[in-house]
Amino acid sequence: MKAAVVTYPGSNCDRDLARGFELAGFEVARVWHKDRALPQGTDVVGIPGGFSWGDYLRCGAIAARAGIAEAIRAHAARGGYVLGICNGFQILTEMGLLPGALLRNAGLKYVCRVVGLEVVATTSAFTSAYAPGARIAIPIAHHDGNFTADAETLARLEGEGRVAFRYLENPNGSANDIAGILSANGRVLGMMPHPERRCEPLHGGTDGAALFRGLAALATPA
């Protein structure tokens, strides 16, 4: 399995994300935002956390229009897998690959701590290695993670089983306690918590590793 991790100016979780993929057995290529194509045979695109372009204008707004964006869009359109974490989730909503938007946290504060999550959808490759309803501990570190969408979109996400993760205690005001959502085909996942920061015992826990393992086991080339 081949993963491509994109680096934008201001990305700061790109190496951690590459490591998360590698631990699960992926061959990882690093891609620069100015690149126009993904490496041949890319199965999964990883869009990392950080502060692309300093969060100017809106979080993820500039990155969503970077040179590599069209290649990511084409990859998703042909059924390729995309994983966006934290700023990566914001970028995916700005690209329109996932619905809704991420607003300033309701408490207005940057929140950086380990939170409890419920694994809601287990039919996707991303969540397939978790038991249904599993409760896991994963860190969050964001200022703008307050997921919002109109009532109709929320109902569709819930009805189609596209809520991947829910906060056990809502840290940021997200609608329906949503921490991560899937695309209609289940192959694009955006989430605010950082599974790549919870993959090895030295991280203080390994609850994030199953996401990469599940993806490695189930992701079929597009």
């Binding site: 204008l57 809106r58 707004a61 229009r65 909503t93 700005e94 619905p99 809704g100 938007a101 607003l103 300033r104 946290n105 309701a106 408490g107 207005l108 307050n146 919002t148 969408a149 005001g173």
Partner: protein, 79 residues
């Protein structure tokens, strides 16, 4: 030609920053502040000389980048 774009959160989208400003105004003794919404203003210098063409171009900029129309609305003034 100059354009001024005002971007605001749509009505109904919670604005926690505006709410914090409203609260702070209250504690400063400004009574009767019922609601505050915070947005941003973007000023653009344009080479265009045709007003209608300039407005159309700036609206396209808003749709493509300057506003996230999932959560934001925008207004364009050409001066």
């Amino acid at each position: 030609m100059k354009a001024r774009v005002t971007v605001m959160l749509k009505d109904g989208v919670l604005d926690p920053q505006g709410e914090a400003v409203r609260h702070a105004l209250g504690t400063l003794g400004f009574e009767g502040v019922q609601a505050v919404r915070q947005g941003k203003v973007i000023e653009i210098d344009l080479a265009a000389t045709d007003r209608a063409a300039a407005e159309a171009e700036v609206r396209a900029m808003c749709e493509k980048l300057l506003a996230n129309t999932v959560i934001e609305k925008y207004a364009v003034e050409i001066a």
